[in-house]
């Protein structure tokens, strides 16, 4: 429960309609897209502009009450679950495109703007905003920035961080900070823009962003390569990169994933295959043609059974949309899907696939694998049932080992989903003791009272890393 005095102060900033603390509002802001994470906030607020965000933050910092800012709540690391209670700030009412600068090729947006709506609008202007997280039809740009979201085009075009060049944000004190600008070069001091991207709402509340736009590719082609062996498919990924071709998209789906995706999207995918690669190349028409021909040959050399090129753009779009549903579609198998996004150097993809399967077998759990293989980012997904405590523990043990394997292969515990609650205990494995100290110091500099999204990134207790020896 929010103390009356605080509620009145918030209402003075936002108006009565901007503050809610009825059971319905609290329950519906107690979760996000992460399984098994739920906690009730004390209130939900809906600001309409930066001044209101600042006013709310000033009031909350006076009373030392935590704030969790959120967009559509689709993240997969527990990033917007209010574990310490406090106030959830929904950014949906700040959803305007403030400007598209056709001379500088930039767009300035508010954080609550829907990612897909924005991307579609930009396309209608003959420009291109590449970051395309699978949740883009639902997610907001603010959420993408806070989590530094990736997507299917990561390997060629990079991720959200590569397109954010300026920010306006509200600090824990309520002060407003502006970073970067419509600038392609800017080395004036530390790069606070990049620091805030991916900071998971723990350093500031993003209230405005300036994004870089690029000219769209002139042509694209999409193909499917089908395999009877998952390892062959994974090896193909490394081979393509080794041959110095960087496709726009290079996705892998294993058999269970193919089945559930097809059950949902009814595309007629080959259900008898152990794996498929979904590959898209874009660029100049000649380059696309040549690359697709070379990729096709590499696939066949690596024992692809069949290679099919999509006949139309509509068909290609259906394939990519279906791929975006993979994570949720896996819930058709079992109600709880726990998905991770361990990432390894691209040459190690096949090794990682082997490791995941070995670990799943060892712990007697079902782990399906799909993901953005082309950038080394796999999504091993355990299908389980939250009510089966014993199995959930085995899943946790398996993922712990998967994180360990990823780091051993030179990788990371999370490529694009963020640390949030669920990977906080493992962060130190990746960044080390000194890395943790620096990060904590940065957090303290921005937010000395630990009011912004507390309980995220930094775990109460870290997991001890047990390095497993292999003979």
């Amino acid at each position: 429960m929010l103390p009356d005095v605080v509620k009145r102060e918030l209402e003075a900033v936002l108006g009565a309609g901007g503050v809610k603390d009825d059971p319905q509002s609290l329950v519906t802001h107690s979760y996000d897209g992460t399984p098994m994470q739920q906690a009730l906030p004390d209130a939900v607020v809906y600001p309409e502009n930066t001044e209101q965000v600042s006013g709310v933050m000033k009031a909350l910092s006076r009373h030392k009450i935590p704030l969790v800012s959120r967009g559509s709540g689709t993240n997969l690391c527990g990033g917007t679950v209010p574990v310490n209670g406090g106030v959830v700030m929904v950014m949906h009412r700040m959803n305007r495109i403030l400007e598209v600068d056709m001379e500088n090729l930039t767009a300035t947006v508010q954080p609550g703007l829907n990612t897909k709506q924005f991307a579609t609008h930009i396309e209608s202007l003959g420009l291109f905003y590449p970051p395309d997280p699978s949740s883009m039809a639902v997610s907001t740009l603010g959420g993408n920035i806070a989590e530094n979201s990736g997507g299917l085009r990561g390997l060629k075009y990079g991720t959200t961080k590569d397109y954010v060049i300026g920010l306006e944000a509200v600090l824990a004190s309520g002060e407003i900070i502006r970073t970067g600008g419509k600038l392609m070069k800017d080395v004036a001091g530390y790069d606070l823009t990049k620091l805030l991207v991916g900071s998971e709402g723990t350093l500031a509340v993003i209230t405005e962003a300036t994004l870089k736009l690029i000219p769209p590719p002139k042509a694209k082609k999409t193909m499917l390569a089908m395999y009877q062996d998952l390892y062959d498919a994974a090896r193909t990924v490394s081979k393509i990169i080794e041959n110095r071709i960087i496709p726009a998209t290079l996705e892998i789906l294993d058999n269970p994933t193919i089945r559930v995706v097809d059950d949902f999207a009814k595309l007629g995918l080959p259900l008898d295959m152990a794996a498929i690669l979904l590959i898209e190349q874009d660029g100049d028409p000649e380059t696309v043609e040549r690359d697709i021909r070379v990729i096709e040959q590499i696939c066949l050399d690596e024992k692809a059974v069949r290679v099919e090129v999509a006949k139309s753009e509509a068909e290609a779009l259906k394939l990519l949309t279906a791929r975006r549903s993979a994570f949720t579609a896996l819930a058709r198998l079992r109600p709880t899907t726990i998905l991770e996004d361990a990432t390894v150097p691209r040459s190690k993809i096949a090794d990682m696939v082997v490791e995941i399967n070995r670990i799943a077998k060892k712990h007697n759990v079902t782990i399906c694998t799909f993901g953005h293989a082309g950038d080394g980012n796999l999504h091993p997904t355990a299908t389980t049932d939250a009510r089966d405590q014993d199995e959930v523990h085995r899943v946790e043990a398996a993922f712990e080992e998967i994180f360990e394997a990823a780091i051993r292969l030179g990788g990371t515990i999370t490529g694009e989903h963020g640390v949030g609650i669920v990977k906080a205990p493992f962060l130190e494995w990746k960044v080390g003791e000194t890395g943790m100290a620096v990060m904590k110091a940065i957090k303290a500099a921005f937010d000395p009272d630990n009011l912004l999204n507390p309980g995220k990134v930094f775990a109460k207790s870290a997991r001890k890393r047990v390095v497993i020896e292999h003979g």
Binding site: P23, V27, L40, G73, T74, G78, V138, D263, S325, A386
Partner: protein, 458 residues
């Protein structure tokens, strides 16, 4: 993962007396389905009320979270909970969008069923109207037809002219006044009374179709029912109209009267079982989706389960039956003689999301020689009719209709086709509201096709 135990802090005041609404809901809600929602949020952009408000509680994910919170004892249902469940249009667009295959339509019906047993929130006139409609009217075909007769008397006797002329209709809320204006001429003679109950196929028989005539369809759109029979005959089907059939029960189920819906289901199963049909055809998406749910509705009734599954498995929409199994002319209508018109199509939500049929009507429309089919932007989005939603939630329904009509206008179509009486009425209302009556007509797809079947070249 280490700290991933459920972190729910119990809300205040969760203890409730035994036999409360919360208890009933906990007994009624299918916990498996609630658990199947893994909260990815993919349903949010598909939901009309979420789009309207931008508020999480107004989304399918939000509503399921609320139901689950009640089921988990995290909160007791209050008036806001009731309102939220009733605010859902029940269009089930979220089901089509859901990769995890969560049966939201079933959950919302269970929730409303639980609420309906306890609620005291209906205003007295709503309560009386519900009792008359659900218990006294829809289950009785004869009474429906009598009502149709009464409506006809009103329309033809000059009473309507008086009501409109004197401004009497102005005394009603705006949305009811507009409704009255677009109401088609009613009939006390349904399709069976008009043309009989047995109709042989033209040419070699493909199979026997049992026609589901519907209540509203048979009173307000009798002609469409007659045309459905003619189309099916021409396409090679024997058609029977089992006289013992009754209301499908959709309005009951959507409004929380599940027991009433189950009784109606049994009546229909018996009637069509006895008629020995290969298919049960519906020309109303709302009814058809309910008929297809009988298997689920009677799943726990050992005496009826098998027959109910038999029934649901054979239920099919008229467009799909014609397109997939019928003998159709290469093109409907004559490109030479007919004047070329532009047509567009508004999906029936329950046909699209419940019966999973959106291709067949479009494929049929693309075979009309004298018409050019243009896709309506967001045709897959609810028009706001949603059963009786446009009567119970006029504001949201009106706002959704206004947006819909902006897209409709842009098609510049001469005919706006639909596959369900509720949508058809709502589209007629939209055309009237927008002042488009001189250049656009809302028509059931069956009527449009039947008109052209006459001049078809087989």
């Amino acid at each position: 993962m280490a700290d991933s135990a459920t972190l729910i802090r119990p809300a205040n005041g969760t203890s409730a007396p035994c036999g409360s609404m919360g208890d009933t809901l906990r007994a009624k809600l299918d916990y498996e389905q609630l658990t199947n929602c893994m909260r990815c949020g993919f349903c949010l952009p598909a939901c009309p009320t979420f789009r309207e408000t931008g508020v999480e509680a107004e989304s399918p994910r939000g509503r399921i979270a609320l139901m689950k919170a009640v089921a988990d004892g995290l909160m007791e249902p209050d008036r806001a909970f009731e309102d939220q469940m009733n605010h859902c249009l029940g269009c089930r667009a979220c089901e089509t969008a859901c990769p995890a295959d969560v049966k939201y339509g079933q959950l919302i019906e269970q929730a409303r069923d639980g609420i309906e047993r306890h609620t005291d929130s209906h205003r007295p006139w709503v309560r009386a109207a519900r009792r008359i409609a659900f218990k006294g009217l829809f289950p009785h075909q004869k009474r429906m037809r009598l009502l149709g007769g009464a409506l006809k008397v009103y329309q033809k006797s000059g009473m309507r002219a008086i009501a409109r002329g004197t401004g009497l209709m102005k005394l009603f809320p705006k949305h009811l006044e507009q409704m009255e204006r677009i109401m088609p001429d009613a009939s006390y003679k349904g399709v069976a009374e008009r043309i009989g109950t047995v109709h042989p196929a033209a040419g070699e028989r493909i199979g026997t179709v049992g026609m589901f005539r519907g209540c509203i369809m048979d009173v307000l759109f009798t002609e469409t029912n007659v045309n459905t029979v003619k189309l099916l005959q021409a396409a090679g089907f024997d058609v029977v109209i089992p006289p013992a059939q009754n209301c499908c029960g959709a309005l009951h189920a959507h409004s929380g009267e599940r027991d009433g819906a189950a009784e109606l289901a049994k009546g229909n199963i018996r009637a069509f079982r006895e008629a020995g049909v290969d298919w049960i055809v519906s020309n109303a998406g709302g009814c058809g989706a309910q008929l297809a749910e009988y298997g689920h509705l009677l799943h726990d009734d050992p005496q009826w389960r098998n027959d109910a599954e038999w029934f649901s498995a054979r239920t099919i929409d008229v467009s799909k039956l014609l397109f997939e199994f019928g003998r159709l002319p290469e093109t409907f209508g004559d490109a030479k003689t007919g004047e070329r018109v532009r047509i567009t199509y508004q999906d029936s939500c329950h046909l699209r999301n419940g019966m999973k049929s959106s291709d067949a009507p479009r494929k049929l429309m693309n075979r009309i020689a004298d018409a050019e089919f243009v896709e309506l932007f967001e045709a897959d989005r609810c028009c706001g009719s949603a059963g009786i939603y446009n009567l119970t939630q006029p504001e949201t329904a009106g706002s959704i209709l206004d947006q819909k009509m902006q897209h409709v206008k842009r098609t510049e179509a001469h005919y706006l086709l639909t596959s369900n009486p509720g949508c058809l009425l709502q589209m007629k209302l939209g055309i009237e509201k927008e002042g488009l009556s001189d250049r656009m007509k809302a028509v059931h797809i069956v009527d449009f096709l039947a008109e052209r079947m006459k001049s078809a070249r087989v």
